[in-house]
């Protein structure tokens, strides 16, 4: 028997001169890192349990704590890194698949950071959003191909159902179960206040949240959890989830430990049973099957709600999106490989799928080449981190963006990437009552509203700088973008010129 050397990844550094033995760290840590030794009147740490979520650091009243990466490491090796070695030890011991959470943390290219935005100088004026109207309103849904007139020659102003957004951003799918009741409440209330939408994910819709239906997108995923007539009718739109950026090609697994009480009722499955979403929809093995589900859902909702089809960004995404556009979908949502998750096999999260920037650029161009771009709206996510990412995405051709990790950060997430453990100290990715109560939905929703309001201001400033006063005029306006440090092929796919050209 060999013994694995797995030294704790982090060190808890406690400044004993500052520590007042209030024991807040001990009470706050669901991972039970901290404990109090009465005999010695000392707080001690079991660092092996620490996930570096910073809850104790944040709440320590005397700033006595910090968590640092341990410098007790393996012998340096650029090929066999610490992570790689540690993962091998874990698998040698367990024989299992490695699990991890949130987005891909690997240093793969982030194209947003290699794209720069234009501004007006001399030949046309920039526009000051404080003085002039600056419009960010967006309508998502299929647009008519051809104007129809009545017998008097007046245009018949009827369109397919549309989603109206005050800003081109929505909260992306996160199921009730993977995140807490209070997290959902915060998202739902903020979306309503902001005039945008949040997304139920595949966990059904808690009865308390039906009141936010006009700002809710209800999801139908491969497990069909929580899907019933009232649910479909409650939302403003229905999303078919075919795939997710963090784990393209596989399903989902919410462990039985999280299927408690309301979660079990909302998902319509027994308490304690694992909620397993199959990898494919077993009624969709091909594009023509997708069309049938799209129209089944439209029939069920009397053609009053747009249907979104969400897919992960994979290699052949342009052709796939074109097929979806021809299958009756009103909106296509594409999720890039940096997208977050409650839990995914590490190897899949880090190695499957393609960056959203490239997927978006090629899908938008393909839909235009086929003349069907106006038949469908494009929403992109995974990962949109800030207002300039939104502006770049719109200029590449998106109608709107999905954000989820950003929203969780606003709610207090510190990206410790341990959601799969179910012990989220911030009350977000957990169902334990003593933890979920830490997230106050009054404060949570206000922070989401603040974040979106701030981004809206920034989007307006960036638009005004370009001399653009309406978001429609930014959509697909790739001349407003330049690449920096990108090779010819990357520029060709993104459809932009290099800086200086």
């Amino acid at each position: 028997m060999s013994i694995n050397y797995i030294y704790p990844e982090y060190e808890v550094v406690r400044n004993d001169a500052r520590c007042i033995r209030c024991r807040v760290c001990e009470r706050q840590c669901a991972n039970e890192v901290h404990s109090y030794d009465e005999e010695r009147n000392l707080l001690i740490s079991d660092e092996a349990k620490c996930v570096n979520c910073k809850r104790c650091v944040t709440l320590c009243p005397t700033h006595a704590l910090k968590i640092v990466k341990s410098d007790c490491r393996f012998k340096e090796n650029a090929n066999w890194t610490d992570d790689t070695i540690r993962e091998i030890y874990k698998q040698a011991e367990s024989g299992g698949v490695l699990l991890s959470s949130m987005g891909n943390p690997k240093p793969l290219p982030v194209y947003w950071d290699k794209i720069l935005i234009n501004a007006s100088q001399v030949t046309n004026p920039s526009i000051d959003p404080l003085r002039e109207p600056m419009e960010t309103k967006v309508f998502l849904g299929k647009k008519p191909d051809k104007v129809k007139r009545d017998e008097n020659g007046n245009i018949i102003c009827k369109t397919s159902p549309q989603l109206e957004l005050s800003i081109p951003i929505m909260f992306s799918a996160m199921s009730y179960g993977s995140i807490s009741y209070n997290a959902h409440a915060s998202l739902a209330r903020a979306a309503t206040e902001l005039g945008i939408y949040y997304n139920t994910g595949e966990g059904g819709l808690h009865e308390d949240f039906y009141q936010y239906g006009p700002n809710t997108i209800v999801q139908v995923a491969s497990g069909r959890f929580g899907v019933h007539k009232d649910y479909l009718e409650a939302g403003a739109a229905v999303e078919i989830k075919m795939g997710q950026g963090a784990k393209p090609g596989i399903g989902g697994h919410l462990p039985g430990a999280k299927i408690v009480g309301d979660v079990s009722r909302t998902r319509m499955i027994p308490e304690g049973s694992d909620a397993i979403s199959p990898a494919p929809h077993h009624d969709i093995y091909s594009i023509e099957d997708l069309r049938q589900l799209v129209y089944s859902l439209k029939e069920a909702t009397e053609y009053k709600k747009p249907v979104i089809v969400k897919v992960a960004a994979v290699h052949n995404i342009a052709a796939i999106a074109s097929g979806i556009a021809r299958s009756g979908a009103d909106i296509i949502a594409i999720d890039g490989f940096r997208g977050g998750t409650g839990a995914a096999p590490t190897r899949i999260r880090d190695n499957v799928g393609i960056p959203i920037e490239l997927a978006l650029a090629s899908v938008d161009q393909r839909l235009r080449d086929e003349g069907i771009r106006n038949n469908v709206s494009l929403v992109v996510g995974g990962s949109i981190r800030c207002a300039s990412d939104v502006v770049k995405a719109i200029a590449l051709g998106a109608d709107a963006c999905y954000i989820a990790t950003g929203a969780l950060l606003a709610l207090g997430c510190h990206l410790c990437r341990s959601c799969q453990g179910g012990k989220c100290n911030w009350g977000i990715a957990t169902q334990r009552p003593e933890l979920t109560k830490r997230l106050n939905p009054d404060i949570g929703s206000q922070r989401l509203i603040n974040l979106m309001t701030a981004w809206k201001h920034e989007i307006k400033e960036l638009m005004g700088g370009m001399g653009i006063n309406s978001i429609e005029a930014l959509r697909g306006n790739r001349l407003m973008l330049r690449g920096v440090g990108l090779n010819g092929k990357e520029l060709e796919i993104l459809g932009i010129s290099h800086a200086g050209e």
């Binding site: 046309n124 647009k143 771009r373």
Partner: protein, 363 residues
């Protein structure tokens, strides 16, 4: 190597001017040429041009194609190509007079043509669509040939130079038109290519435009879905195609077209009686909303529409006298054409000024 128009996007400032007789009375080109003189400083000698409507009454059933050729080889290629699809009833040099400020002219030809009925039947196209497609094919595929005017009973005339010199060069004093539009260009680069001057036209739609639109690439990528190819990378070109698409292909009226390209703000739409229609148009044709500064005059058989961007970031004034309506970047230009012009005003941003020749007047 210097890039020519189309290989690079060149921002320009400009002067525009127009006059129309609501009675359909013919005017020579002298007045419109004069109107460009007080706005001399709005151009920089790198492009000027005119569009004239009603100038070919004897050939009004035929498309008048005005074409620049680099040389006789490109002319032969193009003429051979035209013969496959059109009956050519007349082919000639466009008359010009030597002018010291206009040099390096290409070969400048015009043809009066009618599409062959057999070709239209085979391709299942109406004659306008067929002609538009052929024009775009020549401009993109025949090296050294460039069609710069393609409507019936109208024509565009343009060159590298100041507009007043261009007008004299083309002997516009010898034409009679009920509608003239004019353009002087101030490009920031010096491509020196005649095809890059304005007006830009497709069929009988012509655009003279002052501004640099910030929505250019959004508009271009939208309109290119519908068979248009923006080869010049100019605002004028994309605006012409937008007008052609909305009016000829989608059947929108001028007013509806104005509500697409200079759509009212949502806050305005909320309070309008026709808000349902305005919302429909803005939502459906969002990709054709034009932002950034522009003042344009769209000419067509029987009338014109002048329009400013919705923030009114470019000057444009309107005046009238008797049967005539005058529109220009500056009042001085109107006063040159008609010292006693009345009711001079600046239309609001996004407010279309539509003038048509009276019904029943033979054009």
């Amino acid at each position: 190597m210097k890039l020519k128009e189309g290989q690079i996007r060149i921002p320009s400032g400009c002067a525009i001017s127009a006059v129309i007789s609501r009675e359909g009375k013919r005017m020579t080109g002298e007045k419109i040429i004069e109107s460009m003189k007080p706005m001399h400083d709005r151009s920089n000698g790198l492009g000027g041009g005119f569009a004239a409507y009603g100038i070919y009454p004897e050939y009004k059933e035929f498309y008048a194609l005005h074409i620049f050729y680099d040389d006789n080889t490109s002319r032969h290629t193009c003429e051979q190509f035209l013969k496959d699809g059109f009956e050519i009833v007349r082919a000639e040099n466009i008359p010009t007079r030597k002018h010291k400020n206009i040099t390096d002219e290409p070969l400048i030809w015009r043809y009066f043509v009618a599409p062959l009925a057999s070709v239209l039947a085979r391709m299942q196209l109406d004659e306008k669509e067929y002609t538009a497609r052929i024009v775009m094919k020549i401009n993109t595929e025949i090296d050294g040939a460039y069609v710069f005017s393609s409507g019936k009973n109208m024509g565009a005339f343009k060159a590298v130079g100041y507009p007043e010199d261009v007008g004299e060069f083309y002997r516009l004093d010898e034409y009679g038109a009920y509608l003239w539009t004019a353009h002087g260009r101030y490009p920031t680069n010096t491509p020196g290519w005649w095809g890059g001057a304005h007006p830009f036209g497709l069929l009988d739609y012509t655009i003279v435009h002052n501004g640099e639109i910030s929505s250019y690439d959004a508009n271009r990528r939208f309109i290119e879905m519908f068979g248009y190819k923006c080869t010049l990378q100019t605002d004028t070109e994309v605006i012409t195609y937008i007008a052609d698409y909305l009016m000829r292909k989608q059947g929108l009226t001028l007013e509806e077209t104005a509500s697409v390209i200079a759509a009212p703000f949502w806050s305005t739409i909320e309070n309008r009686e026709d808000k349902e229609l305005l919302k429909y148009l803005r939502c459906t044709y969002g990709g054709l909303l034009i932002t950034g500064p522009f003042s344009i005059i769209l000419g067509f058989n029987g009338g014109l529409m002048a329009l400013n961007d919705r923030l009114k970031l470019r000057s444009m004034v309107v005046g009238e006298k008797d049967d005539k309506i005058f529109i220009a970047s500056e009042e001085a230009a109107i006063r040159t054409m008609e010292p006693d012009a009345e009711n001079i005003y600046s239309p609001a941003g996004g407010e279309p000024v539509i003038v048509r020749v009276k019904e029943g007047v033979e054009l």
